[in-house]
């Protein structure tokens, strides 16, 4: 039996310890906010925060996060009003929206590590997250906005 801590809540898993965290979250724990995009850590759609760091849930196994704090979009902020979420709404960032949870989690992790990133640091930190709709300009602006106060 594997014991996990997700968004402050204990979860148990008695299946395959190698199961990618992504599928545990989505299909076993009902936390569907985290998205599947590539399965190989190439697109960032599945980004969650593990102990303050952005992690790709698609290549992280359930057993990898034992004893760690996993935060998903559902646990990012109690009322959904994290500065990054607010900035995203203020700039009407999403188009289809599918990648945006991963983008938001990546941005939130960036701001933990670097509360005042420069333009280039934002582009570098967000480069692992693909948006096929092409909302990059607004993503960069929103991260900047979140870092300067919404």
């Amino acid at each position: 039996m594997i014991k996990l801590k997700i968004n402050g809540q204990e979860r148990n898993w008695d299946g395959d310890p190698d199961l990618p965290l992504l599928w545990f979250l989505r299909d076993e724990a009902g936390l569907t906010g985290t998205k599947y995009g590539c399965g190989q850590a190439l697109c960032g759609a599945c980004t969650v925060i593990v102990d303050k760091q952005a992690v790709r849930a698609c290549i992280t196994s359930v057993s990898d996060v034992v004893g760690r704090e996993v935060t998903t979009i559902e646990g990012l902020h109690p009322t959904g009003d994290h500065p990054v979420q607010k900035a995203w709404r203020q700039l009407n960032v999403p188009q289809c929206g599918y990648c945006q949870v991963g983008q938001i989690m990546q941005a939130a992790a960036l701001l933990i590590e670097n509360p005042k990133p420069t333009h280039d640091q934002i582009r570098e930190a967000m480069a692992g997250n693909i948006c096929r709709c092409g909302t990059y300009q607004r993503i960069a602006n929103a991260v900047h906005l979140a870092s300067t106060g919404v």
């Binding site: 599928w23 569907t32 590539c38 190439l42 009407n92 929206g97 480069a127 906005l145 300067t148």
Partner: protein, 771 residues
Amino acid sequence: MNTLTNPNKLRGFERHIKVDNVSRRSILKGLGLAGGFVLAAPVMSRPGFAAYQTGADKMPHGTVVDPRVFVSIASDGTVTIVAHRAEMGTGVRTSLPMIVAEEMEADWSRVRVQQAPGDEVKFGNQDTDGSRSTRHYLMPMRQIGASARTMLEAAAAKRWGVPATEVKAVNHEVIHSASGRRIGFGELAADAAKQSVPSVEGLKLKDPKDFRYLGKGQIGIVDLRDITVGTARYGADVRLPGMKYAVIARPPVTGGKVVSFDGAEAMKVSGVEKVIEVKGWPWPSKFQPLGGVAVIARNTGAAIKGRDALKIVWDDGPNSKYESVAYRAELEGAARKPGLVVRKEGDVETALKGADKVIVGEYYVPHHAHVSMEPPVAVADVKGDKAEIWAPVQSAGGTREDVAKTLGIPQENVTVNVTLLGGGFGRKSKCDFALEAALLSKELGAPVQVQWTREDDVRNGFLHTVSVERIEAGLDKNGKVTAWRHRSVAPSIASTFAAGAVHQAPFELGMGLVDMPFEIANVQCENPEAAARTRIGWFRSVSNIPRAFAVQSMVGELAHATGRDQKTMLLELIGSPRILKLDSVKDLWNYGEPYDSYPIDTARLRKVVELVADKGGWGRSVPKGHGLGIAAHRSFVSYIATMVEVAFDNGKLTVPRVDTAIDCGAYVNPERIQAQMEGAVIMGLSFAKHGEITFKDGKVQQGNFDDFPVLRIDESPAVTNVYIVPPGPDTPPSGVGEPGVPPVAPALINAIFAATGKRIRALPIGKQLEA
């Protein structure tokens, strides 16, 4: 509130948004160069404007203008408006209901949007494709809103015993100003529902000067909060009690099939419950499933691991020799010989022979995959002769029809619930993934979700065609173009529907080939044969991608050959302001629109070129290693011009700035138009720089974002500015979702030439600049 942004907070960062109310006359002056966003005249300047016809009623099931179908009002005043088109990121779930709310005087903060299931008899055409939603539904949605408003007003007048002409709906209530009485929509709801629906002809539409929402762009998308907190529901997020998770191993070669399989190892994987064969249809099979072997599990991760353990023997079928290098040579060979003439003016052969100089450009655009961030996925629950589907499909009505046919049950027994689409780009116009889920659910007797992996998406999709576009342009001694021969060779989308289709269909020929707008005396367009060897499908802006790339690159080549400035050359070729008469073209495709309402108007094309050049500062001096490029293209009956600035830093290509101007006629939600243009720039740069799907032994050689890269944020332009041309008084709405894409690649390529002197004729650029 301005959800666009608080521009002050972003000043000096990278984008300047300017929302100005200036008159149409002053639109081209008085806005600073940095003004990234032109918003001026109101949508339709005449009250009751309905002077245009669209092709909406020629679409299957046409339009339904009935407020009882689209609007409901609860006693607490909540107005629910039905969105009958699919949301894939264009903002249509916001924009169409907003039109209804505008006309009925509903307060947007008290409006809920409800997604319609697939039912075209009830809602009218739902095929969200072809950049048609606003174009076809602006007027019907206004009429629906006006009908609802009229019914509310009639109910209030009746209650008060006053003539209906004395009452007026204003912001969610009806007012009788003579007596000062007012009553909310909620209180009127029951009475209003008893009123007869007014005739469309007698409706009084709002005066555009009274618009609160239309043309303003101040409203965030309806799903904004849900998206940012992770509760927005896409196809993959549907969960039903007892639902199984499935992935399918599909034939690696189009037209292939399973010979035999061994699922014993797969069954040993923890969480795997079943391995079963999925029925496939022989190629070409329209949208029917390819078939294969499905692994059913308690979660998707287990299903994927199980699939990896399958042993399958495939019969690769008739396309096992498909190989991209050889196929390109085949297309090039065909392009160098005469083909089916699809447009002819003057005598191009003689004109080319007599030309002072002939410039030849042969351009190649490879297959491309959609790779929407959400790969295809669907949930089905089939019980007896009833089926319910939840899926991110662009065509809810078409999906319903195809599910019914595939399962052999009546359409009335099929419910198709449309989730949000995590991107569509034409891929999700094809409902094969929903059909797979339906077949599996029927066999398992349980609800099932079929998830495509990214590799499935790249390898088993409906690819953008592959094409060679060869243009020969004859110049006289003054550098004037007197002859233009364009041969376009590409396997047609028609090949997905019928075996033996070797010529492009009228709708493909009409996307940038036969509608070429230049004023040249001798023009001939030809379409040599090409046979498809894989599934070809629509990709955002379709054949306009290779055509705009070829035609607008040739403009750059001609500018260079004649020593002219690119923009001067482009305007000279477009020629005088006029309406094109394409008498020699049989079955001219005008995106399904009547030509009278939507003619090819070179004045409008010229105008976007001039606007983008003015705003983007064409001709400005740029630092060493930088270059400017320009391109313009009409598609989806809209006119777009794009200007790209490139920079080379130690040989590395970057894009400091892109400017795009769009004339899409009357518009509803300029903020989303801006978003679509920003996104189109990214998609255009993406396929220009990176995108290529190749085949070897009939198999796609790529699989994921490592070998099929798409543009990332660190390669995106530092600034993208969008300018929207305010519509003339009688300009009908035109497309927005797709037409931003085609001019981007040629503008980039022309800019690269300006910076480096190197002419790229084959996409993607890839490593061509490294040599």
